[in-house]
């Protein structure tokens, strides 16, 4: 499982299923993957996240579960593709650029939580 990958729809299905397994009345929201239309997710972590979601959803007081996916390294480098099309929808010209984006770190999502269990390995040990 360490070197395998799970499809994005299956990942979402498993996360949602982990909550429903505890109770169909509890809600689940996944944030941070809105821009991804297709991707392969690390299977080992998919399983672990599924376990974490189950553990959070198992709490009797919990009625809503949020799963937030955010960059681990808070400055990310992205390729930007500027594309032009003619009236018929045929490509005219494309320009490739790059942009670095600074994101907040996880503390902004953890405000107010007294109990936080950090199950992440250190960077480089995935």
């Amino acid at each position: 499982m360490r070197l395998m990958h799970t499809s994005l729809p299956e990942f979402k299905h498993k996360i949602k299923g982990a909550v429903i397994k505890q109770s169909p009345n509890k809600s689940i929201k996944i944030k941070g993957l809105e821009n991804l239309k297709s991707a392969k997710m690390q299977s080992l972590r998919t399983g672990r996240i599924e376990e974490s979601v189950e553990a959070i959803a198992a709490n009797k007081e919990t009625v809503k579960v949020e799963v937030v996916v955010m960059p681990r390294v808070p400055e990310t480098m992205h390729t930007v593709i500027v594309k032009g099309y003619d009236e018929k929808g045929n490509p005219t010209k494309a320009i490739m650029e790059v942009i670095n984006i600074i994101h907040p770190t996880e503390e902004v999502e953890l405000e107010g939580f007294a109990e936080i269990e950090d199950r992440r390995p250190t960077i480089g040990r995935h």
Binding site: V73, P74, E75, M77, N100, I102, H103, P104, T105, E106, E107, V108, L110, E111, T122, I123
Partner: protein, 340 residues
């Protein structure tokens, strides 16, 4: 029992929206006097401050450079960012690299030549060693909303997206209890911060990317808009003039050995010092002319002013800053002491 002291600017103080996050400045010696490690001191400070904070540690015995290459006493040796009482264990702290001052270094970076006369034997720090930092592009630390960037000379709140420039001389005034100026940067500062010199482990650039006489912005008439509407905390202009005069009196030539910022060129002209007009690139002249610094005017002979005259008239000689407001730093930066 001993006491750790530092100065602290609360979020919201300053021009426009004010500081986007809290700012704490602490001397290395104050940490050492308490018998604390730097890490312990940073942890203590971040726990005391409720909310996002940038923390800079100063070695007042060391030296650094301004972005245009002027050597000055006092250097930031560590930068940190904290939020909600924590410093991010991976991205929250970065140490500046000590740079050994050798004849070879001065040959590569001639703006450092005054070090031998003005600050002999003192340690030199600017930015970090790029190999030792985790964040790939900028010299930045971050925790939660707090971002401390460009080797601790710019702070941002990544949620409100507000930022503030904290040039090194303004911070040095604040940590020493001197006067500071709150202002909006304006076009001259926006152009000036791009007139850098070639430096290894520089505050913004890790390699000797842009030489004296060039512009790192390379944005022609657009350069004056890039950082023109940002609150800043700077030193009064007579302080800046004094340090520029120090290095000009050592014989440095703006445009050749020293950056060609509006401040450096204006002081050099007032002093009657040589400027290497030919070595200043056409792209740099475009940016300078966009904020009223014209080559033909600087080439006109002028009556050389004395050092005392330049310092007394620094506010009219050095251009730049919108809506400046001079205050004693002690009226805005609070002195905080905590028992250790």
């Amino acid at each position: 029992m001993s006491t750790l002291s530092f100065v602290y600017l609360p979020k919201g103080v300053g021009a426009k929206h004010g500081a986007p996050i809290n700012v704490a400045l602490v001397k290395k010696k104050a940490i050492e006097r308490c018998g604390l490690s730097e890490e312990e001191a940073l942890e203590m400070i971040v726990k005391m401050i409720d909310g996002p904070v940038a923390i800079n540690v100063f070695d007042m015995e060391a030296v650094t450079t301004t972005s245009d290459g002027v050597v000055i006493p006092g250097a930031i040796i560590t930068m940190a960012a904290g939020d909600m009482g924590k410093i991010h264990k991976e991205f929250g702290v970065l140490h500046m690299e000590e740079i050994e001052v050798t004849a070879e270094l001065i040959k590569e970076e001639p703006h450092l030549a005054p070090l031998q006369k003005l600050y002999p034997g003192r340690k030199l720090f600017r930015g970090p060693d790029p190999v030792k930092k985790v964040i790939p592009v900028h010299n930045v630390v971050m925790t939660g909303k707090a971002v401390n960037n460009n080797s601790a000379t710019e702070v941002m709140n990544v949620v409100t997206m507000e930022e503030m420039l904290l040039p090194i001389l303004g911070q040095l005034q604040a940590i020493q209890g001197g006067d500071i100026v709150f202002a909006i940067t304006g076009g001259v500062i926006s152009v000036g911060i791009g007139m850098t010199v070639a430096e290894k482990y520089g505050r913004v650039f890790p390699t000797r990317q842009f030489k004296a006489g060039e512009t790192a912005h390379d944005s022609a008439g657009y350069a004056k808009t890039l950082k023109a509407n940002i609150p800043c905390i700077v030193a009064p202009k007579e302080i800046l003039a004094g340090y520029i005069l120090d290095v000009l009196e050592c014989g440095l030539i703006p445009g050749k050995e020293l950056g060609c910022s509006p401040a450096v060129l204006s002081v050099a002209y007032a002093m009657g010092a040589k400027i290497d007009f030919e070595n200043i690139s056409q792209r740099a002249w475009l940016e300078l002319e966009s904020v009223g610094i014209y080559r033909n005017l600087l080439e006109q002979p002028a009556i050389a002013m004395t050092r005392e005259e330049i310092i007394a008239q620094a506010d009219t000689i050095i251009p730049g800053l919108l809506d400046p407001y001079r205050v004693k730093s002690t009226e805005c930066f609070q002195e905080i002491s905590v028992e250790v």
